[in-house]
Symmetry: C3
């Protein structure tokens, strides 16, 4: 009746090469307008950039699941005394500290240089700079889009961080390609890119660990005048012959001002109304199992970070969850109403099943340590830990992700009247009651409980008179 918009199916093509094009065009449409995810794979890093003080691994940014979720994931390995050079990106960033500890510097415009050593305290050298943040394994660090930051490994072991880069964030008005702007160094490009750069259209890969720092694009005389330094010093800002890459070694160790680290300080900074500016905002929060929101000694634990707990997430519109499942334990089948879930396994393995709106499993496989899977918004998912148990970090594309469980104490099934269950599934009221009340745990389900905690009229559900 009405004019039909273009569709891949209405074109009567017969020539093979045209069909080929046809496919290309459809594919193009699909890529942009649709995220019709039919198959999800567990992915691992497929690229690496080596630097003097460590390396960065990249998960395939062309992967449909990441592209549809509008995010990128990278993983930095920083050696002791390694310094990740100051940079900023067009993405909102969540960092999970998988191993080790370090110092984070964040350069926020308009915030005072509150860390200072005054002359009286002696010592050869004085300095004054913005606040630094100590972090350690199990921490989540939040970095707003466009905020320059650096990171230093001041520990004894390799520092490993998993980084979510959200380029679909409201803060980003550029396209969805992740861009990192370095303030120093002469970072290498990713290898895949160098080929693509030849494209006459100037088109490149979807993400870019970019070559060159921003001072390389400025005229040296302008830099000299802007900083009021001589040409030689200005030239140094460009780092043009620096071969150290984006992570450098500070051989003698980095000398910065910082308060003595105490456990209190690590627990979290005090907050009051006056201090609640962006300058004093907490950017780090621990997500360890010791702070679990859900805990079941038979099954595992689960810790959430949302904007109520960690207010900066409100700006980033991101959240996180740390999950721990013991051997064979199950995470309640569920769907998330308002967020994608990007899951990275840090230890062990688990079987995940992800189901789409047609009742088809788009993923039913093991996911192991070092692998990543995206659970798209609304898709149903169930997790069951393998023999070694499983630990993971999960990033959510909402600062207050809402989860609906299908089974258990707070599930959608409990919300339903028994008669709706009985009618819908054509089962007896007794079976409907079992379905509704047999699992009394909320989110973390102990394994093999079928035999031990069967329908018995006790516990959390109303018994027959």
């Amino acid at each position: 009746m009405a004019t039909k918009p273009p569709s891949c199916n209405f074109i009567p093509l017969s020539l093979t090469f045209l069909l080929f094009f046809h496919g290309t065009i459809c594919l193009a449409l699909q890529m942009q307008n649709e995220c019709e995810i039919r198959r999800i794979n567990a992915i691992e890093p497929n690229e690496r950039i080596q630097a003097q003080g460590g390396y960065t691994e990249f998960f395939d940014s062309d992967n449909q699941q990441l592209r549809c979720a509008g995010v990128e994931v990278v993983r930095h390995h920083i050696q002791p005394k390694g310094l990740f050079l100051p940079s900023y990106t067009n993405a909102a960033i969540l960092v999970y500290v998988e191993q080790g500890c370090g110092i984070q510097g964040l350069m926020l415009p308009g915030c005072p240089e509150t860390f200072e050593v005054s002359q009286q305290q002696g010592g050869g050298f004085q300095d004054r700079h913005q606040k630094l943040y100590n972090f350690r394994q199990g921490d989540i660090i939040a970095i707003p889009a466009g905020a320059a930051h650096w990171m230093y490994n001041d520990g004894q072991q390799e520092l490993i961080v998993v980084v979510l880069l959200d380029t679909t964030n409201a803060a980003n008005q550029l396209d969805q390609n992740y861009r990192r702007f370095y303030l120093a160094g002469n970072p290498q490009q990713r290898q895949q890119q160098q080929q693509q750069q030849q494209s006459p259209w100037g088109r490149k890969g979807q993400s870019q660990e970019d070559s060159g720092n921003i001072f390389q694009g400025f005229d040296v005389n302008t830099i000299a005048e802007a900083f009021n330094v001589d040409r030689e010093t200005a030239e140094m800002l460009r780092c043009q012959f620096d071969q150290r890459g984006h992570i450098i070694m500070v051989e003698r160790g980095l000398q910065v001002i910082r308060p003595p680290m105490s456990f209190q300080e690590q627990q979290g900074e005090p907050r009051n109304g006056l201090e609640e500016t962006i300058c004093s905002m907490k950017i780090r929060e621990n997500i360890d199992a010791s702070r679990a929101d859900f805990y079941n000694p038979q099954a595992g634990s689960c810790t959430h970070l949302n904007s109520l707990k960690f207010p900066i997430l409100k700006f980033l519109q991101l959240g996180a969850q740390r999950g721990v499942l013991h051997r064979d334990a199950i995470m309640a089948p569920c769907w998330m109403t308002n967020a994608h879930d990007i899951i990275f396994v840090t230890n062990g393995n688990m079987r995940m099943q992800i189901v789409n709106n047609e009742g088809q499993a788009v993923f039913d496989d093991q996911i192991r340590e070092g692998q990543l899977v995206v659970v798209p918004q609304n898709f149903a998912v169930v997790k069951q830990a393998g023999e070694q148990g499983c630990k993971w970090i999960s990033f959510r594309t909402n600062d207050n992700a809402m989860i609906n469980t299908l089974a258990g104490k707070t599930s959608a099934m409990r919300a339903l009247p028994v008669d709706v269950i009985s009618s819908a599934y054509r089962m007896s009221r007794e079976d409907a009651q079992k379905l509704k009340y047999n699992r009394d745990e909320a989110v973390l389900f102990s394994p093999g409980s079928m035999s031990s905690r069967r329908f018995s009229g006790g516990g959390g559900w109303p018994s027959e008179p």
Copy 2:
């Protein structure tokens, strides 16, 4: 001067089949980047899915006007004792109850099961479930994206509801395709789709009334373990041989707990600060003519629902209007500054004229009962009822839609100085005054008033000395 971005016009093609491709590509561009609406048609449902307890009609989701507005419209017909199975979608939903009455269940995560029958009250069976909502003709029901819900016809006549599905909603991070996830049953697919599913690219139609419930994608053993039930019960959740479709009959009638329905209860739940959580939020509001915001006995009435009146609309970013025009009466020519307007005629007919930014009528036709038209944001529109008068429901893609009228008491014309009117339209000040003051009604204009209430110096406009 500057480099030109790609355009369909700059490619000098001569071969026919290339032109064909050219067209395809342009079309693709157009579809995605532009909603250059040149012609709008009144549309009717063009697909239907039959089920045991009723059927669902679909308005063509490929239709440009719906696609540009980023919405879908469907219409459910549910027989007495028919149950629309529990499901959730990636769209924010507004339901208008065109005929009949029923019960709505909404399964909200974290909300308590507040409807319960305790043991003392006797009777063979106890249950406890989340709040249910009675609804009846003239109600608007709001359902947040991702919230599971079901609907049951507990009345004597067919229940008919018109449903707006907004997939461009901020809550939806998937693509704009409407997806429904069923928790039960074995719903049929739409017919058009089954062909498209063959596409090697896995591309399907723009909307999907999906086959299969989500439990079909999970392993039966996993379901059994998660619910702590036996394999047979778990198997029942998959409903694999269920032929009843998405609306089933509950032959003996649905037994659920609910308070005695009283008129008070229907008028609206009490609200206070403590109760203002999502769990106690009102999800239903009546939009009948008896609650009119604008009323003119000679012309008709008009009832608005926005987020000030019905706070849940703030979350959905949607609004609604119920309009009634008597024979030949006119709705003031107007444009909406911040919303599209999706108009479905429930009774009678009217002539609508919709004008674009080039002063061209993209629609000038009758729209009858059962037909739908989209008035794009900013487009100017005027409605005049036919011989039988006209009633319609209009859905707006903003929770606080702002309307500018061109004629009448609160119009843009009244805001203009007479001298601007006189200069702009090259008319005398007397004519400008008539133009400004001759129609003293606000929104609903009585017909044939030209003769009766002409420019006379009285009424709402300042007279000459």
Copy 3:
């Protein structure tokens, strides 16, 4: 490992014409999904529409930098006694008054007609209309998307205004094409468009200064009935033979009601809680150098307008800056974290350098009076005034744009510990200190200060013991 989405590089094509298509498709993808800006040019208006009372210049809306920023820029030249006809657009609008003065009318639905002359005051004619706003050189006027407005030059010289049209604004649910809906007149089309209009797909250029006013699309009888006027008057609303275009001359001068203009009134309307509705909201604010936020007699001045100062900008999600640099003075190298910056030079010239994430200058050139450049979000930029100094107006796509400077008192460099600088740039601590502290000005840097204010241990940085 995972399925690859389409990319321009993976298709092994050999035939030339296929390559051609390949290019087209890629181009198409690029246009929509990416704003990979490799080269920026200073642009000037390339189109003009002449009217009786003035003319409008258009900056090339196909230009990648404007398209990527999601904005259009036009410049109206209105002769004394010229009236820009009432119209509304789908874009949020910021107007900068480059020269002259005038009256602005804004027709807001639901706002009262507060400007009135009552009968007692005598005189031949009475009227009553909505509030008018006087404006003059240096003012910024904010107009919400969809709000009808008109403008009149009541001064002695040509009125020139530069207009930013933001179509990516949240308020616009149509596509990104700028559309203007005229309430009067018979405006001409832009010339470039007329060719494109022949496209079988109804596709047109990206922006449209549209022909015809909206009344041309309505049936004359309907207009007559809606306004309750005779057919002749209704016909006049269509202005079909009006050759005057979108800016008309009011030969005898426009007669409107307005209070005596006083300096106080120009300084800004009083505001209190009661008045804070959209109807009494301030829509005009002066951005002259006399209200500078940053001032340095040796370098220049800089005035910002954000939503804290000028609350209506919160609705528009736009901001502005007025910049003045004296000869050879430098604006601190910086990047903006959350906005694009659209810079239009009103006087003199300056050298601008814009650097992307690969450390490449995408722009390194002079920009002169009448030229425009877009600095994309996150891109680094430095400005240095030419021999005549430079003045510009800059529009930002955020109501609270955040700027990070690289050099100077509040810069990212100051936030860094000296040891990070020294390690990153491989320079001595002494050089690092100079880099950090040698420029003690905040944003506006006086020229040639290298010799006069060298590293000396004094001033704002901590000295050696």
